[in-house]
């Protein structure tokens, strides 16, 4: 639950960050779902190639996407960086009516606008009501923006700091560092394009 919820960041950054996930409903549409999930993944991947994964299988930085698509059983994830491609994908998924549930995360105003343009009326939404408890233990905001892009918590704040250091020392490029950070996110909702922009901001001298 909730793994695409709780992304932090400023509004401008979040405006270019839309994770999408599909999920079968056990007992309702899980029989033979693999082929349906594959059809839907092929549609989504026409519109975004930033990241793609299935947390039971792996992500596109671990194996070829075609191999992942042959192994779907429960669902897959991608991430979009703009509304235009998201709307086009939503429209095609609606038209093809394959029948597996789809969830999109992002700024509500932006996602609702995309839904409206795609002719979709969402039946249910989920809000994030903040982080509570011993907040001294959480990463500072500039690191948290990366860490929260993997809802399973697999992207380490230590790795973010290491990548920042390595970029400053010219040991790695911003693009390669953003991909290195995306690799641990098994399901494919970590947004490497957004990460690259954040890294650029953090390493500007």
């Amino acid at each position: 639950m909730t793994h695409s919820l709780h992304r932090t960041g400023d509004t401008e950054s979040l405006k270019k960050d839309f994770p999408m996930l599909t999920h079968v409903a056990r007992g309702y549409n899980d029989i033979g779902a693999g082929e349906r999930l594959k059809q839907m993944a092929q549609i989504a991947r026409k519109y975004t190639d930033l990241h793609f994964g299935d947390c039971k299988v792996g992500n596109k930085f671990m194996m070829p996407p075609e191999e992942i698509m042959e192994k779907h059983t429960v669902g897959w994830q991608v991430v979009f960086k703009n509304k235009k491609s998201l709307i086009a994908c939503m429209k095609e998924l609606k038209e093809k009516n394959i029948g597996i549930s789809v969830v999109v995360s992002g700024l509500f105003d932006e996602v609702f606008e995309c839904c409206q343009k795609a002719g979709i009326t969402p039946p249910l939404i989920e809000f994030a009501l903040g982080v509570h408890g011993n907040k001294d233990k959480i990463w500072p905001p500039e690191i948290l923006d990366f860490v929260t892009m993997c809802g399973h918590g697999l992207v380490s704040g230590h790795l973010v700091r290491k990548m920042v250091e390595d970029i400053k020392k010219k040991k790695i490029t911003i693009k390669k560092a953003s991909i290195e950070l995306a690799k641990p996110c098994l399901c494919g909702i970590f947004n490497p394009d957004r990460a690259a922009k954040l890294l650029k901001k953090m390493t500007r001298f």
Binding site: Y28, A128, V131, N134, I138, L144
Partner: protein, 244 residues
């Protein structure tokens, strides 16, 4: 996770990949001129990130066979592991994702989740128990399909099986449905718990879109001083029943 001391060449490349900082880089007792990586087993949540990172050239990092109750760590921290009770990989359930088919969250009530250890901190399950027991006192009924519910010794009180209390996980989620009259007392409990846990927790609320902004749920949430993020999850309603 473990690191084979004999194979480790002391490059330290694995250290930064650990989400909970459980990999130590220390001076080798047998050869003080060299350093080695070692996993603090008490802090390790068995997420598998260091292993999958594929940064250890001599392949010194390995997945050992782990037994109950330690296996709970992997089940809640490694999304590649599917919970046998729920059939869902990761920590949660289908929740809102498939609600247009399952009808799990009905109008007139709201779905809630409290996720211990998130973001990026990790938590001992005894902290989850602290919150679960306080919520149970307010009449909260825990979601039967959530893997946490299977760890309770007494599902009515939120008391955990004693042997899992000290297990550390990346995160674990308490899921439940609240009736309108329960929301305020539940949020009050969470406010009180915020000062009692050593880790952190994130809170979620599931509602129907017409509830947004002007609905009673968000009014209560704001009155209780909880923030409402401008971003969240939206079910597009594209699923349907296909099994025959």
């Amino acid at each position: 996770m473990r690191i084979n001391r004999d194979k480790c060449v002391g490059c330290g490349r694995c250290v930064s990949y650990c989400p909970v900082g459980a990999i130590q880089f220390f001076q080798d007792e047998q050869n003080p001129k060299k350093k080695k990586s070692k996993i603090d087993e008490d802090e390790c949540v068995e997420c598998g990130v260091c292993f999958r990172a594929n940064v250890c050239k001599p392949q010194a990092i390995y997945l050992p066979e782990i037994m109950w109750p330690r296996v709970v760590r992997r089940a809640f921290s490694d999304p590649m592991v599917e919970h046998k009770e729920t059939g869902v990989p990761g920590r949660g359930t289908e929740e809102l994702k498939t609600n247009e088919i399952t009808g799990r969250f009905k109008r007139g009530s709201w779905g809630m989740a409290v996720e211990l250890g998130r973001p990026g901190v990790g938590a001992r399950l005894k902290e989850l128990e602290l919150i679960a027991m306080a919520l149970a006192e307010k009449g909260v009924v825990f979601e039967p399909q959530n893997p946490v519910t299977h760890l309770f010794e007494d599902v009515k009180t939120g008391k955990l099986k004693p042997e899992v209390r000290n297990e550390k996980v990346l995160s674990a989620i308490i899921e439940f449905v609240v009736r309108p009259e329960q929301l305020e007392p539940v949020l009050q409990v969470l406010k009180e718990m915020a000062g009692k846990v050593e880790s952190v927790f994130s809170v979620d609320l599931i509602t129907h879109p017409e509830e947004e902004e002007k609905g009673p749920a968000l009014k209560i949430v704001k009155k209780m001083g909880f923030p409402v993020y401008p971003n969240g999850k939206v079910n597009l309603g594209l699923g349907r029943v296909l099994n025959k």
